[in-house]
């Protein structure tokens, strides 16, 4: 893999700072340069950008340590230091003259052969390199990040005919492995892929909505969920990206695209959008956009622009029976008589038709187009996957009827689907009319692909077990939201036996949005409401038993989380031999939020980790105090790096930046541990007992006086403090794991019997928000 040890980022606007942060997140030093301002310190622009990034939510940095890797500077004093850097990223204002002037300076200062890339979204590479020295052109490319760079997984890479392919490969590898991006190769065409198509779609959706007599809510309801697009739809998305951006992007697109391009037909003036921008309604960053939150009169009223009056009115939820009737059948939606079907077709039907033309105009294959829209616009399905849902022929015929020029690749499909599974391999239709295997980059292993070639070794309603090769099994949660329940525990039990008898190691991994948001508290609540205490106790006891079995299994168990790993999900990490976490892992023991405490060994493991941490002060009190602080506040790590700071990940645990590489990394990690693997020794710890509990309770009382702890918080903290201080133990006693588990069980059950805890769980399930009772 290509490793860069230092990268220069020039330009510290939102994108520049974000890119710098993500490079730092990868553990790579960054030199962040910007202009010298007329007033203030010479580095103050870049310094300010770093400070702002540290306060931004969602956070560009994954940890405070990462922020320290970014060194601010200015282009007058420090430009020569680009010679220290292995890659130079230009993120300055979108002006050709300024960029080219910078390039000339850089070319003189950089080490020869150092790649230089621009984050431009509007200027073609051909134009950028015009008149530049050959050696520079050879090392130059466009690396187009999406905002925010940490969270958006798409990176469009544009190279020119003269770009050195090996160098481009090195940059691509770094972006892929170190920065965690999916690198999509684009042609040097206007807007590249995602914005070319995205802008067409958004512009069309915005201009067509009032023409079809739809409200904004209705338009968003049609453009969102039915197509697997986030429910913000188009108007909500416009508010998110900023209304004021659109005129610029559209103007640049209009200038760059050839006259015959269909974009010109959809790109019409939208007076209401213009009026909103002029009055400061630029979107969520401003006073609001098409939607706003009206706080007048102390109330918070959600409001929406009414097309007819151009004024705000209270939000009206869309109630479109047509959508319900069509269900998931997109063809039925397109064919629905009336304004709903007509709008869906006019906007999305044509967008799909337009997408088809982008091969080969903007990319070599349909794979790139689909990947760009999935990752750049968070579409669940790429355009060609959507076309497969309605049928290429059907789409072509309907487009033709509209007089919309049908793309060659649609003709070429001729009744075939764009994707198919052939002999266990996913294949796509090429421009040559033949199917080709979808080839994953080296080091990428996806369960999605594994599933095409085999049946699960074990499976039940909530989990499945797959053979991922080389003697490693993968345990996958398949329940709704990957909530942990009884069937999962049952299957794990069987899996442990299976691995012990016939395999080498186990990886716990899945490809859901979240690793697991914890135990199915809906079930627990129902059981509690019908007073099935024995059943609840059995559920906890079984969970504890399985967690202990995982921990002491005679083979390595590697958990590989991505997304949220909360509550019971986090307890899986804590009981694994090792964790290989996706960088975007959000782990925490959040049980107190719903009035419970970690009951599957979470308290026990966190205590064990912190009481053996050499950096902690001596004595039995610091560890319980530290753990209490985290669990009682239901703290969630906002990255894998932060989880490491919290002790949820250990030093030896690995972090994978690229989501698609997680399973392969976890498997490699597991295999590396197989030889001579010994399960850990049970921990025995010294805990303070009742006196320690009193100390914690006093602290909680203090919070309560400050209004920071509610009445039930005190009850919950009290139970948690009992567990963490070892119950009735004495300082001279040694507390065994089994004792801590017993305390967890008892505390959990006592809390579950309180109406206030039941009210918290119910509130969380019904509103998704914690109840502060």
């Amino acid at each position: 893999m290509a490793t860069f040890s230092k990268v220069a980022v020039i330009g510290s606007g939102v994108m520049g700072a974000g890119i710098a942060a993500q490079i730092a997140n990868a553990g790579v030093r960054v030199l962040l340069l910007d202009i010298v301002p007329k007033e203030g310190g010479r580095n103050s622009v870049a310094e300010g950008a770093i400070a702002r990034a540290l306060k931004t939510d969602p956070a560009p940095f994954m940890s405070a340590a990462a922020a320290r890797l970014v060194e601010p500077g200015n282009i007058e004093d420090d430009l020569a230091r680009v010679a220290e850097c292995d890659w130079i990223v230009e993120v300055v204002v979108e002006r050709l003259d300024i960029k080219q002037a910078l390039y000339r300076k850089l070319d003189a200062l950089r080490r020869p052969g150092t790649p230089v890339s621009s984050n431009t979204s509007t200027i073609p590479l051909k134009t950028l390199t015009e008149g530049m020295p050959d050696a520079f052109v050879r090392d130059f490319m466009i690396t187009h990040f999406f905002n925010p760079p940490r969270y958006m997984r798409l990176l469009e890479l544009i190279t020119g005919p003269a770009t050195d392919p090996a160098l481009a490969r090195r940059v691509a590898d770094f972006c892929d492995v170190a920065l965690g991006k999916s690198v999509v190769a684009c042609h040097d065409s206007p807007g590249f892929i995602a914005n070319r198509l995205g802008v067409f779609w958004m512009t069309s959706a915005v201009t067509e909505a009032p023409l079809h007599g739809l409200t904004i809510e209705e338009a968003d309801a049609i453009m969102g969920r039915p197509f697997g697009i986030p429910k913000t739809g188009v108007f909500g998305l416009m508010d998110l990206v900023g209304l004021d951006l659109m005129p610029h992007v559209n103007a640049s697109m209009q200038g760059a695209l050839p006259p015959a391009d269909e974009f010109h037909a959809v790109n019409r003036d939208v007076p209401i959008a213009r009026k909103l921008i002029e009055t400061g309604y630029t979107g969520r960053k401003g006073k609001g956009g098409f939607y706003r939150l009206n706080r007048e009169g102390g109330k918070r009223v959600k409001e929406t622009i009414d097309f007819a009056t151009g004024e705000f009115r209270p939000e009206r939820r869309a109630d479109l029976p047509e959508l319900k009737a069509a269900g998931r059948d997109l063809r039925a939606l397109f064919e629905t008589p009336g304004r709903v079907g007509a709008y869906a077709w006019k906007v999305m039907g044509h967008t799909l038709g337009y997408a088809a033309k982008l091969v080969p105009e903007a990319a070599d294959s349909i794979l790139d187009i689909d990947e760009a829209m999935r990752l750049g616009y968070n579409w669940k399905h790429g355009p060609f996957e959507l076309i497969d849902q309605v049928g290429a022929d059907w789409l072509a015929a309907k487009l033709r009827a509209d007089g919309f020029a049908v793309a060659p690749i649609l003709e070429r499909a001729a009744g075939r689907s764009f994707y198919r599974v052939h002999e266990g391999k996913r294949q796509y239709l090429g421009l040559d009319g033949a199917y080709h295997d979808v080839v994953r980059p080296e080091g990428v292993l996806l369960l999605e692909d594994v599933k095409l070639t085999q049946k699960p070794l074990l499976r039940n309603a909530s989990a499945a077990v797959w053979d991922v090769g080389d003697g490693v099994l993968c345990f996958e949660f398949t329940s709704k939201s990957n909530a942990l329940d009884e069937p999962i525990m049952t299957l794990l039990q069987k899996t442990i036996t299976l691995v012990r008898d016939k395999y080498k190691a186990l990886v716990i991994y899945n490809e859901g949005r979240n690793f697991s948001v914890g135990a199915n508290i809906g079930l627990a609540l129902f059981a509690a409401n019908m007073a099935a205490w024995a059943q609840v106790e059995a559920l906890i006891a079984t969970g504890q038993e399985i967690m202990q079995k995982l921990k002491y299994a005679p083979f390595p168990v590697v958990s590989a989380p991505s997304g949220m790993a909360l509550g019971g999900g986090c307890e899986f990490l804590l009981h694994s031999s090792a964790v290989q976490a996706h960088a975007e892992t959000y782990a925490g023991l959040v049980e107190c939020g719903v009035g419970l405490l970690p009951g599957w060994g979470g308290c026990k493991e966190m205590l064990g980790r912190w009481s053996t941490d050499p950096k902690m002060p001596k004595g039995p009190m610091p560890a319980p105090m530290k753990v209490f602080e985290m669990i009682s506040t239901a703290k969630v790590a906002k990255s894998a790096a932060e989880a490491r700071e919290m002790g949820i990940l250990r030093k030896a645990d690995g972090i994978t930046m690229n989501r698609n590489r997680l399973l392969a990394d976890a498997k490699r990690r597991a295999l590396s541990m197989v030889d001579g693997y010994k399960p850990p020794e049970p921990r025995e710890i010294v805990l303070p007992g009742p006196s320690g509990k009193v100390a914690i309770e006093q602290a909680v009382q203090g919070f309560a006086k400050l209004g920071l702890a509610t009445r039930h918080d005190i009850v919950v903290s009290g139970e948690l403090a009992t567990v963490l201080t070892g119950g009735r133990t004495d300082i001279i006693d040694i507390v065994k794991e089994s004792k801590l588990l017993e305390l967890e069980r008892e505390g959990f059950l006592r809390l579950l019997r309180t109406p206030a805890t039941l009210a918290r769980i119910e509130h969380m399930l019904e509103t998704g928000k914690p109840l502060r009772n």
Binding site: F526, M530, A531, A532, W533, Q535, P755, E762, E766
Partner: protein
């Protein structure tokens, strides 16, 4: 012969001893209502029931209501009985003082209701519907409508009805067609035809206030487009006297299996003047205030009829001489032993008794929750009571009425052939009881309401008010071997509940297939819990009971009978529920 003496001793036991009326009244801020006051009200109500209402029960059945030219005449004696009822203030008993009521708590009101149903079910419907209409108006009516109509209704001078059903829609009210057209003066004109309207037309009161479900011109389709209107038979004048006749007429009355003295009317509304009650298109919610109250009342009706059936059967079993006891003659002085010596007659009587007293205990618990729902000291208590009433409403309605039909039929059996002929009035009880399983939501619908709405609501929150006390009671008495039948039945109920929640989530038909058995299972456990608590109270009282010892001893024996011979049905019900829908749904409809 229909025998009825109000079971005052048992009522006092349920109210004061089992459910602790003193603490309860304190909690709802009605400590002024003393147990002496309650006892004297119950005594008077009992007298009224057996002296005024019972004598016209059989005759009313024989004579029935008569319809001629839009006018309905109730049977002989009904008008006089009703006047006496109103003048004695029974109609105002549990109504709010603000509109002339006596504001007595529901724990008293429900017992008085039971007595009226025992003595004369047909009669009880006239004031019963007025009470329901009063509640709906109280909950949803404008201040103006309340001030204008409530005092007269509570006084009993005007009566009330509820108009839901139309010829083509009963259970499925979404199909409703009656129209309401807004007028410039804020009133509406109602046009349509309603059927099965109890007390829709009669000669007991000077005016009849109909609450009618209808659709506004721009109303959405289905149940979300139904509004409720108040339509009086006579439009009140300025001084609130019945004025001009409104456009509502009775087109006929039904000829029914039983309940013959209650007029079940077809009403025709032609441009009738009405006023909106509550918000437009929210009529069903408003009507459900009334429906829920009515459903509980129908359960009480079942209990009432069963009590009379029991008393009548006991009377006959003691008097009727046939055969000899299996263990040898008991009354050698007589030609034969009274049939009460026979085990099977005793099985019959004990079964009825165990159900009736169990249901009375349960209704006392639910009545307490009705009070707490309105008058509980804090929002949590009020909401918990509301949840409990919501859960128990379908159970009380369906369980009590299913049992009323079963037990009245058992009581008839004690009479042998004499039960089947009209002379003794036993077949009237069976016929009268039968309607209770049907109206105000057929019992199958009650069961669906329980499994489909109440059970899953808020992840089982409504179960809490019932399941938690039962579990706590079992835990607290774990050392007592007599708790085992209840513990087992409750275990079956918990398992069945979890099973239905899970299976029903995947396939609603599974929940539907389990519904009726599940309701009975929950009901049995509820009665079992009442009997277990009764045992505890009776045992505590027995050592100092003196003259009352036999009362408590009977309680203990009846509890034992329930535990040993009735509660075990729970196991069978759970087995049936577990079997699932397969055999129920497998046959092709043509194969039936």
């Amino acid at each position: 012969m229909q025998i009825y003496n109000a079971p005052l001793r048992d009522m006092r036991f349920v109210m004061h001893e089992l459910h602790g009326s003193a603490a309860h009244l304190d909690r709802i801020g009605k400590s002024g209502v003393t147990s002496e006051l309650i006892d004297s009200i119950l005594e008077e109500a009992g007298k009224f029931a057996s002296e005024v209402l019972l004598p016209i029960n059989a005759s009313g059945d024989e004579e029935g209501c008569h319809y001629e030219n839009g006018v309905v005449r109730t049977p002989r004696g009904f008008k006089q009985a009703y006047d006496q009822f109103r003048e004695s203030g029974w109609s105002a008993l549990a109504a709010p003082a603000e509109f002339g009521g006596q504001d007595l708590p529901d724990i008293v009101g429900k017992m008085v209701e039971e007595m009226q149903c025992s003595a004369n079910l047909s009669f009880s419907l006239y004031p019963g519907l007025t009470q329901g209409a009063t509640l709906a108006l109280l909950g949803h009516g404008s201040d103006e409508l309340k001030a204008r109509f409530l005092p007269k209704m509570i006084e009993g001078v005007w009566s009330g009805t509820m108009n839901l059903t139309e010829a083509h829609c009963g259970t499925d009210l979404g199909l409703l067609r009656t129209k309401a057209v807004p007028q410039e003066d804020g009133s509406y004109r109602i046009t349509g035809a309603k059927i099965f309207i109890s007390s829709g037309e009669h000669d007991l009161t000077e005016n009849i206030i109909h609450l009618v479900l209808a659709r506004l011109p721009d109303a959405p389709k289905g149940v979300k487009g139904i509004s409720m209107f108040l339509v009086p038979k006579f439009l009140p004048t300025g001084d609130n006297k019945p004025g001009p006749r409104n456009g509502v007429t009775c087109a006929g009355i039904e000829h029914k299996m039983g309940l013959k003295a209650s007029a079940t009317c077809q009403l025709v509304f032609e441009d009738a003047v009405g006023w909106l009650v509550g918000e437009p298109n929210r009529g069903l919610a408003a009507m459900f205030t009334m429906m829920n109250a009515e459903r509980l009342s129908v359960g009480i009706q079942g209990l009432g009829v069963a009590e009379t059936a029991y008393q009548s059967a006991v009377h006959y079993a003691r008097e009727r001489l046939q055969g000899r006891a299996l263990s040898g003659p008991r009354r050698p002085d007589l030609a034969a032993d009274p049939i009460i010596v026979h085990p099977d007659v005793r099985r019959t009587l004990m079964t009825i008794r165990a159900y009736v007293e169990g249901c009375r205990a349960l209704s006392g618990w639910v009545a307490q929750a009705l009070d707490l729902e309105k008058l509980g000291p804090d929002p949590e208590t009020r909401r918990a009571a509301e949840d409990f009433v919501a859960l128990m409403t379908p159970v009380v309605k369906a369980l009590f009425t299913d049992l009323a039909f079963e037990t009245s039929s058992m009581a008839l059996q004690v009479y042998g052939g004499h039960g089947y002929i009209r002379d003794h009035g036993m077949e009237q009880l069976v016929r009268d009881a039968r309607i209770c399983m049907i109206y105000e939501g057929a019992n199958g619908i009650q069961a669906l309401d329980l499994v489909g709405r109440k059970l899953p609501a808020h992840m089982g929150r409504m179960l809490r008010g019932f399941f938690h006390p039962v579990q706590a009671f079992i835990e607290a008495n774990a050392a007592d071997p007599r708790i085992m039948p209840l513990a087992r039945a409750f275990g079956a109920l918990q398992q069945a509940t979890a099973h239905i929640a899970q299976a029903g989530l995947k396939d609603p038909e599974e929940a539907g297939a389990a519904a009726t058995d599940y309701l009975r299972l929950l009901g049995l456990v509820a009665l079992g819990y009442m009997w277990a608590r009764t045992t505890q109270v009776a045992e505590a009282k027995l050592p100092t009971a003196n003259g009352d010892a036999s009362f408590y001893q009977s309680k203990l024996t009846t509890a034992q009978f329930f535990n040993e011979r009735l509660l075990p049905q729970a196991g069978a019900l759970w087995t049936a529920i577990k079997a699932g829908k397969e055999s129920m749904m497998a046959l092709d409809s043509a194969a039936f």
